[in-house]
């Protein structure tokens, strides 16, 4: 009846996951009770859960990503504290539990923290910057989000029902094959990633189509903002790389479920095949995350330097260059596998070439700042922190790209420090820069500067105190993923890293405090004009938060930095451009398709993990029914009447005109 699922699937003898699961469960119950009792559920359902508005979906992605970032960070605290006490001692985490923690940490951070945050920012910002009203496929967008949430949910269920993979964040065979991982851990990994991977692929298809086919009049390619360019490159990589992950995981699932021999030891299976396939996805994945991050920094550095981005064209070429080169370096993840000196040399050189293209970007950012009047607001601090940190991470990467050096450093903590150096310095810093930068656009008020700066400095210092010692420990020969160790020379470095993670925990506290304080003081932090940072691209042309249709009139783009030109014209003439005739606007209707699909995907995934076959069949049939019900509907758009559009846009225009007057009178006084 319930396949492999019995009451013993819950780890009764392990207090840590039990207590953690109970706390999360009670928290969820409390939130649900509050929502239902206070009568918020209809609002949630109408405005968020069934919303196909790209801005709402973007915010939900960010929320999911930030919550999972917290979960992944708690895993990190457990690993660092375990190693702090596990010197010539067993520590407090048994090996099988520790193995699950580092596997969950990597999986969560990449798939369910970094990806949702980056995709969330793209969702929120790209249509606004393109000057349009939504993405190409609004309902598909919602489905993509909810499938990602399904994956996250399955990973979290594994905390208390069964176990998670003990294989590391990439399940290398033969360890991940049935004889060596007989439990459901790897199955949780496979189905969580397959389901959320489908969601990510939908996002990729959607955004490539949006950026190439849905742009405001006059928005030619070379007038697009840098963030849109990097989002395009990132989504092209998603379309080209994620199907490889899907195929590889299907092969692994076939091995585990039906006794196939793709990657096993017997009957001619080939482990190297798995490693090649997974990294042919895995390396582009790094750039799927970091390219939009580069886009965020480009926007922030240009805005807060008060200058157009230096070398825009070279930036575009560099972005697309990285997009292509990222597909021909995957073998550097396993130089030691024995492909031979010639092959290693080719991939080593290709890897080094990426540093040159990235160097172009770094110099462009520096020259953007050069001669600018720089404002050190929180997003700019994150960007400056990025420039320093990412360059260091890049240089240790070039060191690892040299095969002989890699043979010494492979799988050591030096490698761990390197990729945290680039991913934290690149992606996490970008995530926070982007959140602080676009928060007022999303919610109509800024985040508190003081707490934001405190969060930055604690993260920045915490990062260096954690990971510089790990470089040293790695050079001393300490390998990754050690549950306990005996070498006395490593001990001081491990302890130093523990101090660093404590500082990072303070940073996390500052982030939460920043959010709470900002919501409390939202009246004082209100963004009246919709342009809180003196911005340059089109998202700042509309109100904060933007109306559901984004723009009453699609902007007519005449050059690069379209909003900057509009703003300068308004300042010169002391008037906003005259409004045209308001017309009714048709917008896509809400749809429960995404939520319903995800519900059935969860049922199907859970059934597959525990071999509950009736559940799998039920989930699939219901998913198909839901799909047909959606396909059968006759009305998919609703109209916002012209009078309503006039009223909403009138408010925006009044605020802008007020701002123009204030600005003019301030100028007379000055």
């Amino acid at each position: 009846m319930f396949g492999k699922l019995t009451i013993d699937a819950i780890p009764w003898d392990q207090p840590i996951p039990l207590v953690a699961g109970a706390v999360v469960g009670l928290g969820l119950l409390a939130v649900l009770a509050w929502v239902v009792l206070k009568g918020h559920f209809p609002y949630l359902w109408r405005e968020w859960i069934t919303s196909v508005d790209h801005k709402r979906i973007g915010v939900m992605y960010l929320l999911l990503g930030l919550v999972m970032l917290l979960r992944g960070f708690i895993d990190a605290i457990m690993m660092r504290s375990q190693q702090a006490v596990a010197f010539q001692a067993p520590g407090y985490l048994p090996p099988h539990h520790y193995d699950q923690i580092f596997s969950a940490h990597g999986t969560i951070m990449i798939f369910f923290a970094a990806m949702p945050i980056i995709i969330g920012l793209m969702n929120f910002v790209v249509p606004l910057q393109l000057g349009v009203r939504d993405v190409a496929f609004p309902t598909l967008n919602s489905v993509g989000f909810w499938l990602t949430a399904t994956g996250a949910l399955l990973v979290n269920i594994s905390l208390v029902v069964g176990e998670f993979a003990q294989t590391g964040w990439l399940p290398y065979p033969p360890l991940s094959e049935l004889p060596f991982s007989p439990g459901v851990g790897v199955d949780y990994y496979i189905w969580a990633l397959l389901i959320s991977g489908v969601g990510t692929l939908m996002t990729g298809v959607n955004f490539v189509t949006t950026i190439l086919k849905v742009r405001a009049p006059g928005m030619s390619y070379m007038r697009m903002s840098m963030f849109c360019w990097t989002a395009l490159a990132s989504n092209l990589l998603i379309v080209a790389a994620f199907p490889l992950l899907t195929a590889t995981l299907i092969m692994l699932a076939l091995d585990r479920y039906l006794g196939f021999h793709f990657f096993g030891n017997e009957a001619g299976g080939n482990m190297a095949l798995f490693v090649n396939l997974i990294w042919a996805w895995g390396h582009p994945e790094v750039y799927i995350l970091v390219l939009p991050s580069f886009g965020i920094f480009s926007e922030v550095i240009s805005t807060f330097s008060g200058k157009p981005l230096f070398g825009y064209r070279s930036m575009v070429i560099a972005t697309l260059g990285i997009c292509i080169i990222s597909f021909i370096v995957w073998l550097h993840h396993f130089f030691t596998m024995g492909a031979g000196a010639d092959v290693n040399a080719v991939f080593g050189i290709a890897t080094s070439v990426i540093a040159i293209v990235t160097g172009v970007k770094v110099f462009n950012w520096l020259f953007t700042m050069y001669g600018g009047r720089i404002r050190y607001d929180t997003p700019m601090l994150w960007s400056l922190g990025f420039l320093l940190t990412f360059v260091i991470g890049g240089m240790t990467g070039v060191l690892l790209a040299v095969p002989p050096a890699d043979f010494q450093l492979h799988n050591s903590l030096f490698l761990v420090a390197h990729f945290h150096n680039t991913i934290i310095g690149g992606v996490v810093f970008a995530a926070f820069a982007g959140v602080v930068y676009w928060f007022p656009k999303a919610f109509g008020f800024r985040l508190h500067e003081g707490w934001g700066k405190a969060a930055f400095w604690c993260t920045f210092v915490g990062f260096y105190v954690t990971f510089l010692p790990l470089y040293a420990a790695g050079l001393l020969g300490m390998t990754r993923r050690l549950q306990h160790y005996e070498v006395a020379e490593w001990r001081p470095w491990v302890l130093a890293a523990t101090v660093g993670v404590a500082i990072s925990a303070v940073a996390m506290f500052c982030q939460i405090a920043q959010l709470v304080v900002s919501i409390r003081d939202r009246a004082a932090l209100r963004d009246e004009t919709g342009d809180p940072w003196d911005g340059r691209s089109l998202e700042w042309a509309t109100a904060s938060p933007p109306p559901v249709f984004n723009f009453a009139f699609l902007p007519d783009v005449k050059g690069e930095e379209p909003y900057w030109a509009i703003k300068q014209r308004a300042i010169e003439t002391q008037h906003l451009a005259a409004a045209g005739e308001y017309r009714a606007i048709e917008m896509p209707k809400n749809s429960a398709t995404g939520f319903v699909t995800a519900l059935f995907a969860t049922v199907t995934g859970f059934g597959l993990i525990w071999h509950i076959w009736w559940m799998v069949g039920l989930g699939l049939v219901l998913a198909y029914v839901g799909f047909v019900v959606f396909a059968w509907r006759d009305e998919d758009e609703y109209a916002i009447p012209a009078s309503e559009v006039r009223r909403i846009d009138g408010e925006r225009r009044r605020a802008r005109e007020e701002w123009l007057r204030r600005r003019a009178s301030a100028g007379e006084v000055g």
């Binding site: 379309v239 790389a241 793709f262 896509p588 198909y624």
Partner: protein, 216 residues
């Protein structure tokens, strides 16, 4: 797809506003038809990338027979030729359905779609028969890595055909109930693209799996 390029769509100043998009999408958002067809192309490309991973795996594992049967012993080219004929013919009738849809001839469209579906079912039947015979002869996917990759690649194509048939049936029902509405036309166009893509993948399977497998 010139066949459906003449379909005109209602123009409303909504999401994908003013339709005409001269040049490189610089005239504003493209029409819904262009957006849907373009998006579906991108999806098909991603699907082909997924197949390429299975092709790569098969190329690597083609000789890993573990002392078991090889392609030369297992493949019956006559059967594969009939399968190919079924699929190529179904692509032809699928194309006919697009022409009939363009001419708004419901009966002909439904008839062409129905024949497409029948040929698809015939193809699937032959494939399942082949799989069953191989498994009965002890040459199932558990026998060797070569056979694992064979069953996964060909089976993945077969799964696509099955999903395509489900879609085909749903489209016929939709066409029956709702007639030639703009969104139904767009879905028929997407289905056509999907079905032709499966044909292209099959040509690659026929060549790289069966012909090369027998020649080896």
């Amino acid at each position: 797809m010139t066949a459906t390029a003449t379909v005109t769509l209602p123009r409303a100043p909504g999401l994908h506003a003013t339709a005409e998009a001269p040049g490189h999408g610089e005239g504003g958002p493209a029409s819904t038809l262009v957006i849907v067809a373009y998006g579906f192309w991108i999806f098909l490309i991603s699907d082909i990338v997924m197949f390429s991973a299975f092709f790569a795996a098969h190329a690597v594992l083609q000789t890993a027979t573990d002392g078991g049967p090889t392609g030369r012993e297992l493949f019956d080219l006559r059967r594969v030729a009939i399968e190919t004929a079924c699929l190529l013919l179904s692509s032809f009738t699928c194309g006919l359905s697009a022409l009939a849809a363009e001419a708004r001839r419901v009966t002909w469209t439904q008839a062409a779609l129905f024949v497409t579906g029948l040929l698809g079912v015939a193809f699937l039947f032959l494939e399942m028969h082949e799989f069953a015979a191989m498994i009965a002869a002890g040459a199932g996917p558990q026998r060797s890595a070569f056979l694992s990759s064979f069953f996964a690649l060909v089976g993945c194509h077969g799964a696509h055909v099955s999903v395509g048939l489900l879609w085909l049936g749903t489209m016929m029902a939709q066409l029956y109930v709702k007639g030639f509405r703009a969104d139904i036309q767009r879905r028929l166009l997407c289905f056509n693209m999907f079905w032709h893509m499966l044909d292209i993948v099959w040509v690659a399977i026929f060549t790289l799996v069966y012909l090369v497998g027998v020649a080896r």
